[in-house]
Symmetry: C2
Subunit: 272 residues, 2 copies
């Protein structure tokens, strides 16, 4: 379809996919970025798809752009708990550069979208150079660690209502819109609770006017309201991620400013 005329075909002609939508990739200096670029492979990540299974050999790392992936830990009994979520701020497959090659958790696509993948060998090669990539990956791993700690403590001490708010907010922060495509069943398995408990908690939120939902869709109407209902954990995680990855964002803006068009400027300013 070579014709570009209507708004519709325009959005098709400009596929919004590029590696720099992932913050880690965007933060790379030109040399490193261009070294990796030819090897980055765009992949669609479908809802519910498993990026890797516990114990499986990892072949690639994944840099999500629009997708969100949930790191789930599944117990023998089948019960599960989300350890952390990964969106375009991060990368899936830590163990490839940390040295273990496999992890005991599984990674499940929680919001469909896209991402770029890179072969493990190339990543390791890049990691072994003393470039920025290594710094970024380690930094990100540290942020992930923080998230896990908070999740563990939150699991232990906070109510389902609070956890649901926290989870919605964290997911929302990784999305462009205010609507999550997600059944309550899925939310339940992420939080490691019963589906009915989610129904009940979500019902409260809807009655309070904070969210609205139809089958498989949750729209957030009142973000501030959710924040009221959430435990401290949301704020802590958000702040810590911000702190640890602030230089990442900084470089990203720099990169954006480099392609100095009016539109790019507008985009940057609209962030604040």
């Amino acid at each position: 379809m070579p014709v570009i005329s209507t708004t519709q075909s325009k959005s098709i002609a400009m596929p919004p996919h590029q590696p720099s939508q992932n913050h880690l990739l965007a933060a790379l200096p030109t040399a490193e970025y261009e070294r990796l670029f030819p090897h980055l492979e765009l992949v669609a990540m479908r809802l519910g798809e498993s990026v890797y299974e516990p114990g499986g050999q990892l072949k690639h790392v994944y840099f999500p752009t629009t997708a969100i992936v949930s790191l789930l830990y599944v117990l023998e009994s089948g019960a599960s708990a989300e350890i952390a979520g990964v969106g375009n701020e991060g990368v899936i497959g830590i163990s490839l550069f940390m040295g273990g090659n496999t992890t005991p958790s599984s990674a499940v696509v929680q919001t469909a979208g896209h991402g770029y993948r890179l072969s493990g060998n190339l990543l390791r090669e890049e990691f072994s150079r003393a470039g920025l990539m290594r710094r970024l990956l380690l930094r990100y791993t540290q942020a992930l660690l923080t998230q896990m700690c908070q999740t563990a403590a939150c699991n232990r001490h906070h109510s389902i209502d609070q956890q649901l708010c926290r989870w919605l907010l964290l997911t929302l922060d990784r999305l462009p819109s205010n609507e999550l495509v997600m059944t309550q069943e899925l939310v339940a398995s992420a939080l490691g609770v019963r589906r009915e408990s989610v129904t009940e908690a979500a019902g409260k939120l809807q009655r309070a006017g904070f969210v609205r939902y139809r089958r498989g869709h949750i729209s957030v109407l009142d973000r501030a309201g959710l924040e009221t209902g959430a435990c401290e954990c949301y704020a802590v995680v958000k702040k810590e991620i911000g702190r640890l990855l602030s230089d990442v964002r900084y470089r990203q803006n720099e990169a954006a400013a480099a392609m100095d068009t009016p539109r790019a400027r507008a985009r940057i300013e609209s962030r604040n």
Copy 2:
């Protein structure tokens, strides 16, 4: 005290403190070990002492030898949860080389003992060389991550009884004896539960004949019994740590065998 005659003075004349009691340090090749050795500082770690506080600037990393340190995450409410434990298989202060400098958790000495510390700057310097130290530290971090995941899931889904068994076993594995010096209060704050719940769970174990305790001391009588009572989490963590750090242990034995004296041999054999 140069006299070596009675068994007692023997044990005094051989102060059991040396860096290689820590598995990570022991696994270093001679060159790296000798580079660090002059900078390793023996420190006593007293029960309840805080190695670092959330948000504080870290100056050193700590390699425990006989001490055990608990990574605790404390919530605003004062409630806490143990994220992971660190004994002579690991190191405290991950964030120094991961890049964040501070962590949101605190590290509290859970079993008094000793450890060696190393200034953050020297560690970072060593880390930046492409030596074995870096590989070891990253590997260990990966193992720590696994432990955290399992803890998070365990917090969510397993009973206090099971968790207590898991915790006792993990602690026991890091000790030379079968007696933990530890109040139920401390155990409770590690598990993130009420003291009374620990009393009750411990009572069951005592009645079953698995442990015996007096004020502040818990003796494990029947290890296998505890394993029966524990959830899968214990076995999983143990196995994964073994897998990730197996090459560490290997090198450690190698190092020990290298200094091939009768006494060294005896020491090695007494490990089994």
